[in-house]
Symmetry: C2
Subunit: 331 residues, 2 copies
């Protein structure tokens, strides 16, 4: 199979954790043996946890060696140390595909480039080169490197990360039915709602419209994943709210009510959950959209009838829904 | 990788030709070597052409032997004969995944079970067993067979085929934007429109609503793929139409105008292209839906606001659109 086939597997795996890896990039990796058989597919899932390459090497080690003692190791440093000591020449005929250049620095986790250098794989195939000032340069340390495979798709994975590096990433989430409607009770599958809670837990500010707060009386926490609740900015020209609305009573959270966007300055990973009015009010600031589409029809209020052209960055199942990451097309 | 991984590749390849294989089923096949490396991925594309298994074996033969003379062969009988003579023990360590039991009879093409018996593969993994009176029984001839892998997904692929076997298959096609709107000019990408023309070319009756004919003045042929034009049933209570509408002037086609469905009896592969009114009028007859979703918004007329619950049978890109096959959920 061509390099693109394996890289696309790595890309699809990485998208499963998009929105959850902040402040790290979403990265996927695949290890393949000399025959082209897939030994492992893995993705970085959460900051401070192991990088995609390390998780892929961990799983591939088990397949190659039959030794499952590595299963007990979860900390990145432990897996690194184990592979340094035990892998020997096991990976010398293998290739590793990674959507992003392996990191070249020790931070919360050890350097992937260092580990890959020790394991001396047959080939390392990289989608995007890392432009991060500290982590970059991994590819220069390694031999038998190919770069630029599925480059555009790997760059799309990095949109949030590149926005964080510059300043902040703002994404707008909505849920709708296939027919575009949004009224009439719960729309999304439980898997989709859990994913939204997981993204809330990782974002540092959640923006919501005043009318939505008044009508839905939401809590806007992360209870479905036992996560932490982000700060809330209610965007409203009218600052009077019923104080018994649950979102005001979530511990360890600040709630702001503003009719301007100055408050965004202090935050880096910002999720907007809103309806058509907020969509229109925020469109010049939004980097990305994520939409959960339920396979149903029958509401009466459409999400939007605003003229827009998007491109799909990634589409995947989410329970019985579809989850899609979109970007506005340049006009 | 688990059997399900390879079977899902076969399933996805088969869906690319769903709607184009009439009267044959859409079938996909994957050949994997003893290490688990993928040697080929193929699908049946058109009746009277080679079956999925044969195309997958053809491509795998090239990888295993390095002999490209088989490239020149396109007829199923020629590929069969070539492999019977030349494959020897080449496939004995390979596994073949097929979404449908290999056929056990000689029709327009030779028996796949016969070829697979000769090649004596290490394993044959089958999604759905064939219930066709004549073609079934292939699995019983073969050794080292596993059945039922991704069974439900393989059965979903067979919905049209099983409907043809019983009587007829009726599917409803529509195109919309992500926001559910359908007005305001061309919606779908050229790849989607070509695919619609290819499906028209294979169906034997195309049903359309009278209002659509009056408003859009369509041709409803298959010019984008140089295909043949199906017969047309205009469903209308008013039988008066402007005779200069292009669809009336396509050669070798019959056009009927009816306010009932008696005409459907003589046809087996029926496509309906319509709007919300026709959707409602035909819902009790329709087996499947296929929808092309453009990544845009901004029309003013929604496709439907009728209450319905669907399940996605398959979703895949179609140019910059998404193409989705859906089925109504049992109420």
């Amino acid at each position: 199979m061509p390099d693109e086939f394996f890289m696309r597997l790595a890309i699809a795996e990485a998208w499963k954790y998009q929105g959850l890896t902040y402040p790290n990039p979403a990265v996927g990796a695949v290890v393949v043996n000399s025959e082209g058989a897939i030994l492992s597919v893995a993705a970085h899932q959460k900051a401070a946890e192991a990088h995609a390459e390390v998780l892929a090497l961990k799983d591939a080690y088990k397949v190659l060696s039959g030794d499952t003692t590595i299963d007990a190791l979860h900390q990145s440093w432990d897996i690194h140390d184990f592979l340094h000591v035990n892998a020997g020449e096991l990976f010398e005929e293998c290739s590793l595909y990674t959507t992003l250049e392996p990191c070249n620095h020790e931070g919360k986790t050890p350097s992937c480039a260092d580990l890959l250098e020790t394991l001396s794989l047959r080939r390392i195939i990289i989608g995007s080169l890392d432009t991060h000032a500290i982590a970059a340069g991994g590819a220069r340390r390694l031999r038998h490197v190919s770069t630029g495979v599925c480059h555009d798709a790997c760059e799309a994975l990095l949109l949030p990360f590149k926005a964080w590096q510059k300043q902040q990433f703002i994404f707008f989430k909505w849920a709708q039915r296939l027919d575009g409607t949004i009224d009439g009770g719960t729309i999304s599958a439980i898997e989709s709602r859990r994913n939204v809670h997981a993204m809330r837990s990782v974002c540092d500010l959640l923006v919501i419209g005043g009318n939505t707060v008044r009508e839905d009386r939401p809590t806007l926490d992360s209870r479905l994943v036992n996560g932490s609740a982000p700060d809330i900015l209610i965007y409203s020209h009218n600052s009077v709210f019923d104080n018994t609305i649950p979102l005001f009573h979530v511990p360890r959270r600040q709630v702001f009510i503003d009719d301007h966007w100055d408050r965004l300055k202090g935050y880096r990973n910002i999720m907007i959950e809103g309806g058509p009015v907020l969509l229109e009010a925020t469109q010049s600031m939004v980097d990305c959209y994520v939409s959960f589409i339920a396979p149903s029809s029958g509401g009466s209020i459409p999400f939007t009838t605003q003229r827009a052209d998007f491109e799909w960055l990634h589409v995947a199942p989410s329970g019985c829904d579809l989850k899609m990451w979109l970007r506005k097309k340049d006009e």
